[in-house]
Amino acid sequence: MLIYQHSRSGRRATAQAPLQTADLSTIPERFRRQQRAALPEVSEMQAVRHYTKLSQQNFSIDTQFYPLGSCTMKYNPRGCNSLAMLPEFLARHPEAPADHSQGFMACLYELQEILKEVTGMQAVSLSPAAGAQGEFAGVAMIRAYHDARGDTARNEILVPDAAHGTNPASAVMCGYRVREIPSGADGDVDIEALRQLVGPQTAGIMLTNPSTLGVFDRNIEAIATLMHEAGGLLYYDGANLNAILGKVRPGDMGFDVIHVNLHKTFATPHGGGGPGAGPVGVSERLQPYLPVPMVARKDEHYHWLTEENCPESIGRLSTFAGNAGVLLRAYVYARMLGGEGMERVAEYATLNANYMLKRLTDAGFDAAYPERRATHEFILTLQRQAKELGVNTMDFAKRLLDYGFHAPTTYFPLQVPECLLIEPTETESREELDGFIDALCRIRQEAEEHPEQVTGAPYNLPVKRLDDVRAARELDLVWRPDNN
């Protein structure tokens, strides 16, 4: 039932609004709204009940194991939430002068320093609002660097076929053409193919390492050398940083620019699709181009770096300073972990993934890259089950929901047929992993004995399988009184 269907004309929940309506005579009639917007009219309790019940129709980290590959669905500590929501932080206006902002700015400054250390980069800007905006910022800086040198013939960005779709989309937004690099049979970038594609037209390469194939690219040093010799720069997509935190740093691998998804590695909540935060870090030569604003410190006093102090900056990517509340959550998390805690994140995330990979392959499932170690995630391919049993990956995924587990990422990366990309994260217990493994084995048994039981799933959720074709063909995107 929609909130609109609880609505009755004349019902009021306006305890939250000022009691009286005010004089509007100074707004001429031609500017005035003639008809009220169709918003629901419900009591406060009706709204509370409605949205509470809706929340209960969600899977979430707080209620289910959520092994969505490349999304790092780890526990979101409550302390980070409550401390970022202290009343003074919530009430701080973005244009408040620096004198009224020293506490807030100290947190941002220290977060910049923490991210510099864990990524091995020279400087950090926190402002990008999500990973994709961080990618845009990174590629824009690569372009600004080449442009500043008069090296304007470089019009291509290289992207592996396993990359997130945001990579090529971000490169195009910066005015580049995208060339795709194939992955080799072992999951590493096909370095010979790369050699053929690199040239004077290459502006840079965007890599995720570990890649979305769930393996660490062992040729990264050779790739970095190849790119740098050709005059191109290396962009690091931080989506999988959780796997290597405190073990190996993008800066040490030869990357020139990176973004970090704080909503993944730094445990800020995913919120049903954001807000995230995608700070960017750079090597020395890209520092002048970082997006503004940033926080600097002089004589124990914090001040903003803006367009005025950073004339070569690629500019501003949000009205104010990005998703500040998310940054505060990440800062609190980083302080609770410390250096040692960060290393443990990578260690236990990797332990959990390798444990699951081993147990699942022992149980007869096929790993996409059986000869490789898992990183913090790994890929199973259900191609054999799909062929032999007529039960595909999506069917397995939907049936997992019935067993009370959120499905892993499905059908991504695109080049592994019938794949499940599984990322358990470090915050899951062994019992939870075992439960998931048992469920997958049981579903396979169901698929062997009663395939329709799997292909018809899910059964235990608020709705059965939804008609996506109808959704796209008979578009119904907004409720109206005549569209009940």
Binding site: G274, Y348, V478
Partner: protein, 453 residues
């Protein structure tokens, strides 16, 4: 170990199951030459109790000044229920609803959000949020250039009366895609974009015209004339609106003869705390016929196998995870939780509640302006009608005045000299429904004292 559940026994059994002697072995594919040592430059771990002490001290260090700044972020009352509900773990810790059957809560909320935003703006369709107001406008500009097949120029007219940060963000985001942003001057007396100033562009190839309502100065633009001009010149009309103002002002869908083509803006006034500028939420709505050019997530209502109503992400063929380099935008993670809060906020206020909020902001700002302009040398800069912000001229430089006010716990507006040096010693003030008469009297008193010195 913070947030890691493994016991020593778990660890040993899991290592044995994998068949490795220790965790370190699991990292043996990483070339040893690349491995970093200990991260010694990071601070030592501290407990939740200690970090709570630190954060509380920093929060109180910043204090809680009384805020008369608007300028794109507004201090509205947020009903208690909004964040109690939005902070529920089931909303707060879910992700993008890729598995629709397990995400009906988030999906239905987003469908309701789309419905409410379409109703407020008077447009046919809405998406499920973008990052913030400025990036929403950048996406709207890209969308308009894609959609306007009659235009080849990629020229977009942007009024100087639009928020300066929006103009910068749009430049940063669209500047590399053969789009030219042309600045339109504002009328020095009225503070609005004089429709007559558009005559210079008559007959030229223009892809879109950006129309803010109200504009950065709080001034109401002649939206009907501007929209009609755009359409007469084969340009798309892009509205940039404050959603609270729309409770009182006629919505973009009804501007001019045909209505605006795209409406976007900052959703912060709908339930997002000021929070230093984020997280907020951008919104974008458009005509039905442009929906396939719209960026970002879109939720559709459909049926399940039994014919029961359900919700799912739709039109995904526009998006980066399907279309990759040919996508309408690179956006993936957006501001879902803020859209959830905005939906609950709107459900609690309803049209009448929102109207009262808007009217109270308008009245408070008028009242504040009356009090301040009663002081000698303080006068309103522009003559035209305003919504809930106004530009005031001061007899002495603004930065000194604001600094003295701020030292006394009062943020007395925004100094415009940085972005509009041509306006001289001016400030932009705003009094939302939360500002009380004593606070405004106090502002007057303090300003009087400063001006007398």
């Amino acid at each position: 170990m913070p947030f890691i559940p493994h016991t020593e026994e778990d660890l040993q059994e899991m290592l044995a199951a994998i068949g490795v002697p220790d965790i370190e072995t699991l990292f043996d594919e990483i070339p040893t030459t690349l491995r970093c040592g200990k991260l010694t430059r990071l601070p030592q771990a501290i407990s939740e109790m200690e970090v709570a002490g630190l954060m509380s001290a920093r929060a109180s260090q910043d204090g809680a000044p009384v805020c008369f700044i608007g300028a794109g972020a507004y201090d509205h009352h947020i009903p208690a229920a909004v964040w109690q509900l939005a902070s529920r773990g089931e909303f707060y810790t879910a992700y993008t609803p890729y598995q629709a059957e397990a995400s009906q809560g988030t999906l239905q909320v987003l469908y309701e959000f789309q419905s409410m935003m379409a109703a407020l703006t008077g447009m046919e369709v809405s998406n499920a949020s973008l990052y913030d107001g400025a990036t929403a406008l950048a996406e709207a500009v890209l969308m308009a250039v894609r959609a306007n097949r009659k235009s080849r120029s990629g020229r977009v007219l942007v009024p100087r009366s639009l928020h300066p940060a929006y103009r910068r963000v749009v430049q940063a985001m669209v500047g590399k895609q053969n789009i030219e942003l042309v600045e339109l001057p504002f009328d020095p007396a009225g503070g609005h974009t004089d429709p007559a100033a558009l005559a210079a562009f008559e007959g030229q190839d223009i892809a879109a015209l950006v129309i803010p309502q109200p504009n950065y100065f709080g001034v109401l633009e002649e939206v009907d004339l501007l929209t009609d001009w755009a359409h007469a010149n084969k340009a798309l009309a892009i509205a940039v609106v404050n959603p609270v103002a729309l409770a009182l002002l006629h919505p973009p869908g009804t501007w001019g003869k045909e209505g605006a083509d795209i409406s976007c803006g900052e959703g912060q006034p709908l339930g997002a705390p000021l929070s230093s500028g984020g997280p907020y939420l951008g919104f974008i709505c458009c005509r039905q016929k442009l929906v396939r050019q719209m960026p970002g997530r879109i939720v559709g209502r459909t049926r399940d196998l039994d014919g029961k109503i359900g919700y799912t992400l739709t039109l995904q063929a526009r998006e980066q995870h399907i279309r990759r380099s040919k996508a309408t935008s690179n956006i993936c993670t957006n501001q879902g939780l803020m859209a959830t809060a905005a939906t609950i906020h709107l459900a609690l206020l309803g049209s009448e509640g929102l109207e009262r909020v808007a009217a109270a902001c308008h009245a408070n700002t008028r009242s504040l302006v009356q009090k301040l302009t009663a002081l000698e040398g303080v006068e309103p800069l522009f003559s035209r009608p305003t919504f809930h912000e106004q530009v005031l001229r001061l007899p002495i430089p603004a930065d000194g005045v604001l600094r003295q006010l701020s030292a006394q716990g009062l943020l007395g507006g925004l100094d415009l000299s940085r972005d509009y040096p041509e306006l001289g010693d001016t400030i932009l003030v705003c009094a939302t429904e939360k500002r009380t008469k004593p606070e405004m009297d106090n502002f007057q008193l303090k300003l009087r004292a400063i001006l007398r010195c």
